[in-house]
């Protein structure tokens, strides 16, 4: 076990810990004192938080942070009494002979050596060894080391994220616990970057090509945004963690800010230079599914399951305007090149065009105002992306549609009817569009002619 200075930035700790999974889960001998952060917290998270978290809180007891774990309910003794395991309900309910009372209930039994670790931790004073006792366990525990990707995929992997490198020569795709890089001209596999969580839901290259960022996680369990060096495949930082997946990551136009969105309803802004977080925006009431930067990099538009899209000022984190015209979940957003008009789409199957409601020349704000509706594809719209005056949408079907936003007309359809398209990306010149499907196929088209340039299965080893 390495000694870790808790004041080190998280990304450095991430690298240091990469090879040391929580030992309690592996059942090895544990040195004294037992660490809350590395030993007890992972145990609580895996075994107890399902019923005793912020969401459910059975018996009015939560274990999702040290503060909550130690909190005494009104008129009751605390469940943990430092130094006295046998007087601590937390321990007693693990060892009681009364089956009806014994924890965990309706779940896999907790192992005797894990109970022993909890007993020792309480006996040794039940101390906290992290930074802030109120930190949710999921962000307190050491960064996880994920299983390696399979060498050969046993079946096609749904492609849930794509991103062109700034020079347009490489196409990053969501792999299984890895990022895969492909030659978009011929579908040849160029590189595999491991050490990512189960799923990737968004990918972004820094404008200079030095960083490749992946957002994703394990549904219902973990959200992560990780930064890699695409030239070496090295993990540079675990940027962001959440209790459920991260859905989005977007560099601003000059690469100075990285915006992240997650299923904890949050938007976070990071500096890619030192991986520090400088703003946490918490004004959505539902998962934030997508983000887009305004061309000048001053504003973000966000899409949320709370049935709204918001314009947010990056500098202050304040919501400038809220658009509620969908009356249903919003999954995709895009800014028009003039920075004034916004496109959003979601479960209602229509693309709404609205004014961003930014300050006009007199400084007066008007709020979000609907201007028009593009037909959409009549089905839940999964993704939107914007290149110049062209908007691309993917809905719950096999085809991708291209719109001319000046004339507000559909221009062309790409692909054939088939399984859902789940990822869209255009190259930096707007001349090529890539789409990834639930069937594992990636297709690349010329956006001017509609010609298909390449199609391949983005699942290493599959079909060979």
């Amino acid at each position: 076990m390495l000694f870790l200075n808790p004041h080190l930035p998280i990304f450095i700790r991430a690298v240091l810990i990469a090879s040391t999974a929580p030992t309690a889960l592996r059942g090895e001998e544990e040195p004294s004192p037992v660490s809350f952060r590395t030993t007890i917290a992972p145990l609580l998270l895996a075994q107890c938080q399902g019923c005793h978290g912020a969401e459910t809180a059975k018996a009015d007891y939560r274990v999702d942070s040290y503060t909550e774990l130690m909190r005494a309910a009104d008129g009751e003794p605390p469940r943990v009494r430092p130094g006295q395991p046998t007087a601590s309900l937390l321990h007693e309910l693990l060892v009681t002979l009364e089956e009806e009372d014994r924890m965990p209930q309706q779940s896999v039994p907790i192992k005797p050596r894990q109970i022993e670790l909890i007993r020792r931790w309480i006996a040794e004073g039940a101390r906290f060894d992290g930074e802030a006792p109120s930190t949710p366990l999921v962000r307190l525990i050491p960064v996880r080391q994920h299983e390696p990707a399979p060498e050969k995929y046993p079946r096609p992997l749904p492609v849930t994220a794509l991103a062109f490198s700034p020079d347009g020569t490489r196409l990053a795709a969501a792999g299984l616990r890895e990022i895969t890089l492909w030659n978009p001209a011929n579908g040849r596999l160029l590189q595999r970057i491991p050490n990512m969580a189960q799923r990737i839901l968004a990918l972004a290259w820094s404008p200079d090509g030095s960083q490749l960022v992946a957002a994703g996680g394990i549904p219902g369990e973990l959200g992560e945004v990780r930064v890699f060096d695409p030239s070496t495949g090295a993990l540079l930082a675990v940027l962001h963690r959440a209790a459920d997946v991260a859905f989005e990551v977007q560099f601003d136009p000059d690469g100075a800010t990285l915006a992240v969105a997650d299923a904890e309803n949050r938007i976070a802004l990071y500096s890619p230079a030192d991986f520090s977080r400088f703003r946490l925006i918490d004004n959505h009431a539902g998962w934030v599914m997508a983000l887009a930067w305004s061309p000048d990099g001053k504003y973000l538009v966000s899409a949320s399951r709370d049935k709204t899209a918001k314009i947010i000022e990056a500098k202050s984190g304040a919501a400038i305007s809220t658009y509620g015209g969908h009356h249903d979940e919003v999954f995709g957003v895009a800014f028009r090149a003039d920075g004034q008009q916004v496109f959003s789409a979601g479960r209602d199957g229509k693309i709404h065009v609205w004014k961003a409601g930014l300050a006009d020349t007199t400084g007066k704000r008007f709020g979000a105002e609907k201007v028009a509706e593009l037909g959409g594809q009549g089905r839940s719209t999964v993704r939107l992306c914007m290149a110049g005056d062209h908007l691309f949408s993917a809905a719950g079907e096999g085809q991708v549609r291209q719109y001319d936003v000046v004339r507000r007309q559909p221009l062309r359809e790409f692909g054939e009817p088939g399984d859902w398209v789940m990822a869209l990306a255009h190259d930096p010149f707007g001349s090529r569009l890539a789409a990834g499907g639930h069937d594992g196929m990636v297709q690349v088209w010329n956006t001017q002619t509609g010609e298909r340039l390449a199609d391949f299965m983005a699942s290493p080893g599959w079909g060979r």
């Binding site: 938080q49 399902g50 019923c51 978290g53 969401e55 459910t56 309706q106 779940s107 896999v108 399979p150 046993p154 079946r155 992997l157 749904p158 849930t160 299984l176 189960q198 799923r199 839901l201 394990i218 549904p219 219902g220 369990e221 997946v245 859905f247 539902g286 998962w287 399951r305 839940s380 999964v382 719950g396 088939g418 399984d419 859902w420 789940m422 499907g437 639930h438 069937d439 594992g440 196929m441």
Partner: protein, 722 residues
Amino acid sequence: MFFSRATLPALLAATAVQAAPPPVSFQHEVLPVLTRQGCNAGTCHGSPSGKGGFALSLFAFDAAVDHASLTRDLLGRRVDMFNPELSLILRKPSTELAHRGGLKLPKGSPEYGILRDWIVQGVGMDSADAPPCEGIEVTPGTAVTLRWPVPVQQLRVTARFGDGSRRDITHLAQFTSSDEAIIEVDPAGRVIGRRRGQAAVMVRYLEYVAALPFTLVKPVPGFRWTNPSAANYVDTLVHAKLRELQFTPSGLCSDSEFLRRVHLDLTGMLPAAAEAAAFLANETPGKRARLIDTLLSSPEHAVFWAQRWGDLLRVSPTKLRPEGVEAMNRWLVNAMADNMPHDQFARALLTASGDTFVNAPANYFRAASSRDDALETTTQLFLGARLACAKCHNHPFDRWTQDHYYGMSAFFHRVQRTGVDKKKGGKGEVLVGTANEGEVIHPRTGRTMTPWLPGRGKVTVPKGIDRREIFADWLTRRDNPWFARTAANRIWAQLMGRGIVEPVDDFRGSNPPVNGPLLKALARDFAEHGFDRGHLLRVILNSRTYQASSRTEPGNVGDRILFSHFQPRLLTAEQLLDAVCRVTGMPEKFDDLPAGTRATALPSPQMSHAFLRAFGQPARTTACTCERATEPQLAQALEFLRGRLVHGKLESPDNRLQMALAAGNSDLEIVTELYWTALSRPPAPGELTVASRHIAQAADRATALADVCWAILNTNEFMFQN
């Protein structure tokens, strides 16, 4: 590209050497598991907006939507084909991750296994040419009587498929009991009798629903059947059921109870004091039967029963305008007075066209807010089926599907209602007619619906024929099992206070009749006599069952539903108001209606009448008998304790008491008259003593008499029909 069945074996061969498990069917296995575990129930993910951001179709009626929701929605987050155990649809219901719905899918259970295998195999959808399920069969297939001491029965459910194959799907079916306290059923389909009585076990698989009636017979110590006599088949069949479940019937009610009971049921009013005295003094045999005949042919009977139909047909000025109300009431009263056969009655309403102010039955379609409403009202009134659920999804507790709903709605889809322009002399009437074309489109599948009838299937209606005629032909056939049964049950319920099927308009397998043979016999008798309402009334009214005492015996204390004794019930709002008026001698004057109009003859509800509202007079906004409130209300007690209406009448200088005092009647005469009027019997000696003492001690005789009258009005004997 979906993983088709054809590619699956190859796919699995590439990953594993061991034999692949048989492919799991999404529609025939996965969805039934979700239904069985309660995932897609209306209170959970089956609610229109889902739960916790995850929505399924109610009881899996839309397989395509459910498949997309499980495998594609939110970037496919709910299933993981690469690490199936990481799938949210396994981790949450097994409570490995927080799940507000609790433990629904224990890890290691067969249901968990089915979902996991389906994920392992690639979350496929059944191919379009997979043989569909065409129905289920439950073994044993008939009504089951469980007997103590081993009241257990295992059910087996078999599904039939389009290719002729059959499969045991007991482990995929969902079992529910209509009354868990009497008959319990476990998830494996094992039925256990708990308490003496009857209940239905409903079996659901996909859109197929079957229901089996169960009876638990448990010997009652000391039970002895006394062989009570039977007046007609009603008694024979009621007694058979009572004997089976070991209850005894009560004896006959007294003459005064019978007199009051039958008057209230047939005319809505109390018998007059003189009539009561004469009836009790009469000692000729058969006087009860003769009274029944007399009342059935009385004008008050036609008016009172017309009012009951007015409730169901929503006869109110807000819907029909005053002219429509007047026309409709005239028509209903005539129909009752002429004892119009029920088939003609239904046909007249269902096929009516023309001006609603002139051709009264056309108001049937005016009262309906839409064509869908017309369909739902028709099935509720004449088929005893609440079809409304099936408009948006397959009926949760019955065999009605969305296809049935829209297939039947095709019969009413061409009905058109047009107002008449004021400039062209219109006075607010509506013209009802039918168009020559127009088809129902199924909202989910987009298909054009062919008219469909239960028990008949799809129907071709020739051009130029009003589809409603075809519907009425089918409805009123003597062999239509639903029509006669629904009508007979309604008539029974009106007399007995409770239907053989209850609620009276909610016939379904999962809500079986408490006495099936009785309902069947009544329906057959009704149909065989040309749907003669008067005949059926006579049969029931002359039975010992109707004439049974409301007092229980040790052998039937626990029964409230098998008709072992008469169930006392609160007079309806209108009956009670008329009774108060009769006893006080103070008629009620209603706005805009001629003086002397009785509450039981009101043409439409008096919405601003506090007393009538408090006692549950329906506003006539729905075609449901349930709109009449029967639950006791605090407002009711207040009306009698200190309400203006009751006290106004008691304190009026014109009331019965003041008239009697002015005529010089003695206290004894006045109190005796009150008892006969209010309760159809003379006062008992004890009652007289108490009343006389109170009057003697009082300062003011008139006030004291009013006190006695008030006391009588507050007795259960007065307020209830016993």
